[in-house]
Symmetry: C2
Subunit: 243 residues, 2 copies
């Protein structure tokens, strides 16, 4: 049992929850390692949403509001960490949700779909086709989902696939705690924040944004500034970390 007054309580509970989800076959073993990488960067960022990350979340809401067909691509870690938050975002925005996995098996697809549905998420169904310019099963997605989306919201994404989606002409919004990852650098918009903090911010901004605000935010947006701000935050914190 983790004591509730532990300074890093939330992070430790999340870690145990993910291990439990790995035992159930929702999270892959590779997903646990990826979560650890995220934990380290979150630790360096102070385990809180920075001002630039909040602005990025606001810009993400703007992208979603102005999109013709936004799709939320959910993997095992995102489902395990944020199922009810995904349901909330879908409720306010109507966004389509597609389960799309890097370590894809039919069993995991089913488990994650049922896990999301039990949290109130409406999940796109259909037969996946090889429509993303990648080799093997990583090319699979739904024709009426990611393939026809103009904006794809895909937290915790792999660099290769992020790049492939951008090449397909899509606007890709990601959530990634590593400001230096290929995903962070390649995405149209990167929210450098922990996924369970970022999604509720997007839902909130979506509810309170006009179309005019959204268009202005998008017009002056530059992804590199969010990444640079996150690096500056980390470097600034390291400077006095041992004092």
């Amino acid at each position: 049992m983790i004591p509730e007054d532990h300074p890093r309580y939330k992070s430790l509970v999340m870690r145990e929850h993910l291990a439990e989800c790995a035992r159930k076959g929702i999270v892959s073993l590779e997903g646990l390692t990826a979560h650890g990488r995220g934990e380290a960067f979150d630790y360096l960022l102070g385990e809180k949403t920075t001002d630039p990350a909040l602005k990025a979340a606001r810009t993400a809401a703007a992208f979603l509001i102005t999109a013709k067909k936004p799709v939320f691509s959910v993997n095992g870690n995102t489902a395990a960490l944020a199922a009810s938050l995904i349901a909330d975002l879908q409720c306010v925005s109507g966004i389509d949700v597609e389960v799309n996995l890097f370590h894809r098996t039919e069993e995991r697809m089913d488990k994650i779909t049922r896990f999301l549905e039990s949290a109130g998420v409406r999940v796109l169904k259909g037969t996946a086709e090889r429509l993303v310019p990648l080799t093997h099963d990583r090319a699979l997605c739904l024709r009426n989902g990611i393939f026809s989306a103009d904006v794809v919201f895909v937290p915790l994404e792999d660099g290769d696939r992020c790049e492939a989606l951008v090449k397909m002409g899509k606007r890709v919004i990601t959530v990634d705690l590593n400001p230096l990852s290929r995903t962070s650098r390649t995405a149209s918009l990167t929210i450098v924040d922990e996924v369970t903090r970022a999604i509720p911010h997007i839902s909130h901004f979506f509810e309170h944004m006009t179309l005019m605000d959204a268009e202005e935010l998008i017009s002056c947006h530059e992804n590199r500034t969010y990444l640079k701000a996150a690096l500056d935050e980390i470097a600034g914190r390291l400077k006095y970390a041992l004092d």
Copy 2:
């Protein structure tokens, strides 16, 4: 298959190997997440041994040479990553090796012991007793192993246990990629490096060090300088990381 010319080939192979060891029950699910945290810090350190980390490895060899009874405490991750390197260090230094796990089950103890033995490591046997001032099974160690050691070499250690060993009056040497972790700050000596790079350095220095060199190294050693140097290295690299 990870292509051999991938710039992060070694790191990716290691990640897959650990996932495989988790499937076999040698590495715990929590160990996979911990490995991810290490990966992130190693990435920030440039995935190479820095000069201060090399000096720390040299000092570790000095501690081992001058020890009356040094013991190497091995957990699942260390065994999975470095079994043959542990055998090499034992060969040059004669150090006793005790398997000591945070997520302890008899099954994992047996599996890890057999894994190490198959790599040529001589593993201490006996009945573990509650001799470390911690609650539950985390107190367990061997009376003729860690309990009677004056120097404990314990890479990838938990903060609580590191602190408890120091309180028992032992000199604790650790390997930890996070220069800010409680383990790093609490240990007598922290090598901020990846464990498969650090152990061969210690073996090499052990073979080529006189007792006089060792005593001089120990006399002028201050752990904080290694941690500060690692933070400076990370901060320096972040500064130009996006350029």
